[in-house]
């Protein structure tokens, strides 16, 4: 029994984290957020050099064939640095969908290009965690029509993995006739969120149907939870550093128990979540019986703890935390969006109740 990261896993996380520490500075994040809200091109190139887009691609197609635990570790450092690059859809869910459901020809066509970072995948499946307005994609023959909302990493996508209302998965090209992409503006300007409108768009099927779709939703939930873990710890570290520096009443505010206890509560809530993320991520590949349950718990629990940490850290920073000057709000907003994507905590918990036969 060993509940711990391997040396290789630690090195992977360290190397991506160290890279982002310097490359994805607050100025870079701010630049993206204030300008386009799409991505930091230099950071994306650097991540390609590190092999991040190839992480989940099978070796036969030029990838590193990592598992979900590795993906979660990288997602965590993406959150820690509020990395303004596509990751969850483009580097994990997209390649996983194609690797699990694509024909040999499709894999051959797309996976090597995903691995080199030449193309990015947007992932459109939010209608299966709660369809809003009249959204829904219908498939007729090889043609797709309809709207899909809250497409993950849709902003700069070259291809889309799309779930139809029946749970079937398809692949379409962003440049195909009949595809319209509409940018949605969320509070979090570090990652893109979009809507796609399809009119009889030519598609190629991905097999595996609902099982693959379910596995993508679970994987996505673990990754958003991991992103919140990283963003949350960044907010704790910032709060502690600020409290050790800021003086009022001739003392650093970090020597007041009221402030220390706020920091202790954040750490006490968030640190055990790391164990939940590790377990849930590992379960996606190794413990099929626990995969759904733990992915849902990771998503809903990190949403709750993340909200507490985001709010408390901002309060420790006092008025400065509320300003744009400090940039703390980028983390606050990232955590806020992570909570809602792929199902907010109340809805996910209701799914978990059904899964265990506690609700009809």
């Amino acid at each position: 029994m060993e509940f711990a990261l391997s040396e290789e896993q630690k090195m992977l996380q360290d190397s991506v984290g160290r890279y982002l520490e310097t490359a994805c500075s607050l100025d870079v994040v701010r630049g993206v957020a204030e300008k386009s809200g799409l991505q930091a091109d230099d950071v994306w190139s650097g991540l390609i050099d590190l092999g991040v887009p190839s992480m989940m691609v099978p070796e036969a197609y030029g990838g590193m064939a990592f598992g979900m635990l590795e993906a979660a570790l990288v997602s965590e450092v993406m959150g820690r640095h509020v990395a303004a690059v596509p990751f969850i859809g483009a580097c994990v869910l997209g390649p996983l969908a194609i690797a699990r459901g694509g024909s040999d020809a499709l894999k051959e066509a797309w996976l090597p290009k995903i691995a080199t970072g030449a193309i990015r995948v947007g992932v459109a499946l939010s209608e299966h965690t709660g369809a809003r307005e009249d959204a829904g994609i219908t498939a007729e023959g090889d043609r797709l029509s309809g709207r899909s909302l809250f497409v993950i990493d849709g902003g700069m996508a070259d291809i889309f993995v799309v779930a139809d209302t029946q749970g079937g998965l398809h692949l379409i090209e962003a440049g195909a006739e009949g595809v319209e992409t509409i940018a949605l503006t969320s509070i979090d300007r570090t990652r893109s969120l979009s809507e796609i409108r399809l009119t009889k768009v030519v598609s190629q099927p991905l097999d595996g149907g609902e099982d693959v779709l379910a596995s993508l939703i679970d994987a996505g939930r673990v990754l958003y939870a991991a992103d919140t873990l990283g963003a949350g710890w960044a907010m704790i570290d910032k709060a502690v550093a600020y409290a050790k520096e800021r003086k009022q009443f001739n003392r650093v505010i970090g020597s007041f128990q009221s402030v220390k206890h706020m920091c202790a509560e954040m750490a006490a809530e968030l640190e055990p979540c790391r164990s939940l993320i590790w377990y849930a991520a590992y379960a996606q590949d190794a413990l099929p019986d626990d995969a759904r349950l733990t992915a849902g718990h990771a998503k809903s629990h990190l949403s709750e703890v993340g909200r507490f940490v985001a709010r408390t850290s901002t309060e420790v920073h006092g008025g400065m935390g509320f300003t744009d000057l400090l940039g703390l709000h980028y983390w606050f907003k990232r955590i806020g969006v992570n909570r809602q994507i792929l199902g907010g905590p109340e809805r996910v918990r209701e799914e978990l109740a059904k899964l265990q036969g506690w609700a009809a």
């Binding site: 704790i236 020597s255 202790a264 109740a353």
Partner: protein
């Protein structure tokens, strides 16, 4: 990550399972408990030691089983005993706190004399640490031992002394060096509870039971050689055992069993003919608590691995008492809320469920949140040792002139 135990440990697990089947009939009905063990409990304890399921790593020469420490095997034993709903070994304060202290800091003579009868359940100990005026600031304790020939004369009062009524012996913190700084003036004394001058009064808590006692000392004569460690080292000696206590509180496996009990209860009990589980608000609370229970279970696995590898756990280890006690308390709260009016029944009332245990737990667990280092002290520890935040500055004594002004 590898969550399988591997063949060596699975074989060991099979061994434990076989023992539990073979010796099922000899197990006492009640669980170990903290009072004086019954004859059948003492018999069971001896069986467990003989097979290595109690006092496992304590050397044979002192009455233990003498195995090499192996955290995974200890965990397997605990898992299998819980799964079979069989009582484990005696876990009173003598076994869990005094014996580890002696092993670390006792003389050879003390180890020979005390460990075996303590393990066997023949000698029961109680712990004299807290005082009415010294709770979180334990080192300020005032029970004093003054030299009188070869003895100390002990005067003062202890509180929160569980088992004092049935104990044979006490290990006790006493201020023997009144002029030394507060952490350096304490000695760790041991003495029989029937020494003249000791009075034990039961302390009834909010649960209605006397789970604790107050102990009063009037000129209690203790030979100076009945000391563990040196004079003035008592604080250091006691801290060796407080670590053991912090490990006992906030056990994540207990939370798992509670969650299962509540789930079953919510599936069976009804209000207005509707299962409690069909109420969406109660159900949501249950799933929320399940998140926390699983989180703490996985966290326990992570800490266990770190301990096996002898790695320091930092903030991850410091949060367990705070989070674990809080979680157990919240579980009891849900059980009560789910039952509604029936949830308030107690003390053998008609319609009472599970002999009132959820109310008892809801109250007693609040005591555990406070005891063994309050939640607020835990937060100080987490922020200071885990997050490297500064200590609260000591109050500055006003200069004489200022003192005169304010007077």
């Amino acid at each position: 990550m590898d969550l399988s135990y591997g063949p060596e440990y699975e074989a060991f697990r099979a061994e434990v399972q076989k023992f539990l089947i073979d010796f099922k009939d000899q197990a006492p009905r009640g669980i170990g408990g903290t009072g004086r063990p019954a004859a059948e409990t003492i018999h069971w304890q001896k069986l467990l030691i003989e097979h290595g399921y109690a006092a496992r790593t304590i050397p044979k020469e002192y009455g233990g089983y003498g195995a090499e420490p192996d955290i995974l095997k200890s965990r397997i034993i605990s898992e299998e005993f819980t799964a079979a709903q069989m009582p484990g070994g005696i876990a009173n304060q003598g076994v869990s706190m005094f014996v580890p202290t002696l092993l670390e800091l006792g003389t050879e003579e003390q180890k020979q004399k005390w460990i075996r009868p303590t393990l066997n359940g023949d000698i029961v100990w109680c712990q004299g640490y807290s005082e009415p005026g010294s709770g979180s600031d334990l080192a300020s304790l005032q029970t004093k031992g003054t030299e009188d020939g070869d003895d100390f004369l002990v005067n003062g009062q202890k509180i929160w002394t569980s088992t004092a009524k049935s104990a044979d012996m006490m290990f006790c913190l006493v201020r023997t060096e009144p002029d030394a700084p507060k952490h350096k003036g304490i000695s760790y004394l041991i003495f029989p509870m029937d020494t003249p001058g000791i009075e034990v009064r039961p302390l009834v808590t909010m649960t209605g039971n006397a789970e604790f006692n107050e102990v009063f000392f009037t000129d209690v004569r203790v030979p100076q050689n009945q000391i563990i460690g040196e004079r003035g080292q008592g604080w250091f000696v006691a801290n060796a055992t407080l670590g053991h206590e912090r490990g006992m509180l906030g056990d994540p496996n207990a939370a798992g069993s509670r969650l299962a009990e509540i789930t079953q209860m919510m599936m069976e009990e009804t209000v207005d003919g509707e299962r409690l589980m069909d109420n969406p608000f109660l159900r949501d609370r249950l799933v929320k608590l399940q998140s926390r229970v699983l989180t703490m279970q996985y966290h326990g696995m992570r800490l266990l691995t770190a301990r096996v590898k002898k790695e320091s756990t930092g903030v991850a280890g410091l949060i367990v008492k705070l989070q674990g006690c809080d979680l157990n308390h919240d579980l009891a709260a849900l059980a009560i809320d789910a039952m509604g009016e029936i949830g308030v029944l107690y003390d053998g009332s008609p319609m009472e469920r599970s002999r009132g245990k959820w109310q008892w737990r809801y109250m007693f667990d609040l005591g555990l949140i406070i005891g063994g280092g309050t939640a607020q002290i835990q937060k100080n520890i987490i922020s200071e040792r885990g997050l490297d935040m500064p200590r609260e500055p000591k109050p500055v004594k006003p200069a004489p002139a200022d003192a005169a002004k304010s007077a």
